[in-house]
Amino acid sequence: MPKLVVRNLRKLFGTFEAVKNVSFQVEEKETLCLLGPSGCGKTTILRIIAGLEVPTSGEVLLDGVLVNDLPPQRRQIGLVFQDYAIFPHLSVFENIAYGLRVRKLSEAELTRKVRETASLVDVQSILDAPTKKLGLSEMQRVAIGRSLALDPKLLLLDEPLSNIDAKARERMRTELGKLQKDIGIATVYVTHDQLEAMTLADRIAVMRDGLIEQMGTTSEIYDNPKTLFVANFIGSPSMNLIDCELVYNREEAVLKFGDLALDVTELTQRIEGKGEGRELVLGVRAEDLSLDAKKTNPVAIEAEVQLAEPVGAKSIYHLKMGGVSLLAKGYGMPNIDAGSKVWATFNIDKVHLFDKKTEHAIV
């Protein structure tokens, strides 16, 4: 039985429909990530699951039991806020014990439970420390520990890594990943950061305007985006999306854009005649466009480098190709700098094709 079931959820604020008919489930030990830009409805869904917001219609089931009418404190759900909401005047021990004290456990039982939880989130050595002196990553652990102490059925995390500087965020993301593996609890995680979602989630639900656009594993969503929105939102730099049209020339299939023509005969079977005569969008990820200083590949297309952005061992190249702007990403090539001519080859196997009207993927 799934741990959490959300069925046909809708939420209206006045006349604004923040959540439009959303359904999903979360299995035991699974982390589901609700990902989308601000205003897509992801936090509203989280608050409905927690019981902080009442849905206009739809159901929330925990362990198969309908919890729509249960108040938040009786849902057995742990909620970790964006700023962690650690009580600054209490020690780490008292922060973790906070919810247990409300439950009126015996002192011995309470101490046992706090110690057990503390070792799970690896804060057992700082239990007596005042929370004022904690680092960010310790605060995160204490906040998660405080939720876990109450043996929740489900953990909800609301943008736990925003408001943190880039380097610390990277470290905490990895730590959070390890912690999730150790505690193995069903989790719903809300974020607008696609990298966070890809690295931490078992499955991702990409949201837009109150609806789930696509749900799947990181690989499914990254490699096979079903809509233009998902293609554009997932991945950094964003996928190149170019307006084009499909033209058949005897046995050859060619995509025309700008002054260019790309031979996509190999893809004819997958296109299944759906592309002809329609406005299409060609999608290609920056890493699926390879660059060469010379024309070694007969199908390579000449391009001019307008800007090179070094990002670690790789670089992002801003190209102008037959009147079209494109990005390519790859390991740094010497002497490829702004103004230089290069030869670009599309990795045809990795090319995407979308219908411009419906925004849905064809290939």
Binding site: E170, T174, D193, M198, G235, P310, A313, I316
Partner: protein, 368 residues
């Protein structure tokens, strides 16, 4: 000539030394990035250049002129802050036109210049609207327009992309670089984000606790970090570090990290003299570790997969070798399971070595 030169600039706030002996030289028309974690002194440094803070010691030059005693308004410097102050009850046009009104520029000229800069920044649709209706990115661009309309010789940007959504940040980053090129400005840009720093900067100064640790081109600070701090700050995922010592074994020179070792014989001439007798740190970037299913015929070490992170186009696999966890970068087509045994091999020519005590590089790693 509107370069910037700082000579031994120091600044204290109360007992805290915010800037310690900072010296740097920014040539005309360069896009110079000041990178560092929060609290490194980046904003103070920008304010010293702008004249909003006067240093306790040291000299500030803009062009050939020493400007220590020149008030901010006469320095011809534009500065855009992290949260740009705009007048909420003025429209976009009125906000951008404000600095020109003060200069008593004629109405027709104001109109022309505001229009021109608004077109360049693609904010003509905001000219009639008030700031309350702007998104974070739009607000940032209006503030930028207000500074650009004055055509300053030197533009200082303090974390200009911090409050923007990830996707807009990516785009604005490129816009700023184009802008700097097209206007032929000298630009100083501060950020905590190392990726942003390497992506936009012609050169980068990496700061830590009020001091400059290293200045160099993006590739230079990435490939040849001079200190452990720079090595760890620049690059994501972060460079792996392990304690080690340098030993002679027969006729080989080996960095011994107890759980694994790296043969440095071919690079003996690059190591400094003190390296032999001191405690060292071995640094290796995640992309410089090769993952193998079975042991290699040369040097490789057995490890176990602790964690995998899918980045879309590549994967970060955390492998435990003895007591050390190593982040390794690999292609997206390989799948690894939690607990899986595998073998790691180091690209010896790309290994970095630092003195553990001082954090200073003990070995020249120069692969441009």
């Amino acid at each position: 000539m509107v370069g910037v030169r700082l000579v031994n600039v120091s600044k204290k706030a109360g007992k805290r030394q915010i800037l310690k002996n900072v010296s740097l030289e920014i040539p005309d028309k360069e896009l110079f990035v000041i990178a560092g974690p929060p609290g490194a002194g980046r904003t103070t440094l920008l304010k010293v250049i702008a004249g909003l803070i006067s240093p306790d010691a040291g000299e500030v030059y803009i062009g050939n002129q020493m400007v220590n005693t020149v008030p901010p308004s006469d320095r011809d410097v534009g500065m855009v802050f992290e949260t740009p102050p705009v007048y909420p009850n003025r429209t976009g046009f009125q906000n951008i036109a404000f600095p020109l009104e003060i200069k008593k520029v004629s109405d027709s000229q104001i109109k022309e210049q505001v229009q021109k800069v608004a077109e360049f920044l693609q904010i003509t649709h905001l000219l009639d609207r008030k700031p309350a209706t702007y998104s974070g990115g739009e607000l940032q661009r209006v503030a930028l327009a207000r500074v650009l309309v004055r055509k300053p010789r030197l533009l200082l940007l303090d974390e200009p992309l911090k409050n923007l959504d990830a996707k807009i940040r990516e785009r604005t980053r490129v816009e700023l670089k184009r802008l700097q090129r097209e206007f032929g400005m000298t630009m100083v840009f501060s950020t905590h984000d190392q990726l942003e720093a390497t992506a936009v900067g012609d050169r980068i100064a990496v700061m830590k606790e009020g001091m400059i640790e290293q200045i160099g081109a993006p590739k230079e600070v990435y490939n040849s970090p001079k200190t452990v701090f720079v090595a760890r700050f620049i690059g994501s995922p972060t460079m792996n570090l392990a304690e080690c010592t340098l030993k002679r074994k027969d006729d080989r020179l080996v960095l011994d990290a107890s759980d694994f070792n790296v043969d440095m014989t071919m690079r003996a001439h690059e190591m400094d003299r003190e390296a032999m007798s001191q405690e060292l740190l071995l640094g290796v970037r995640p992309e410089d570790i090769v993952l193998l299913d079975s042991p290699a015929n040369t040097k490789s070490f057995e490890g176990e997969v602790e964690l995998t992170e899918n980045f879309g186009d590549e994967r970060v696999v955390t492998v435990r070798v003895g007591k050390v966890s190593l982040n390794c970068l690999t292609g997206k087509d390989r799948v690894f399971k939690y607990g899986q045994k595998l073998h790691v091999k180091f690209k010896e020519e790309k290994v970095h070595v630092f003195h553990k005590q001082t954090g200073i590089a003990a070995c020249v790693t120069s692969q441009m």
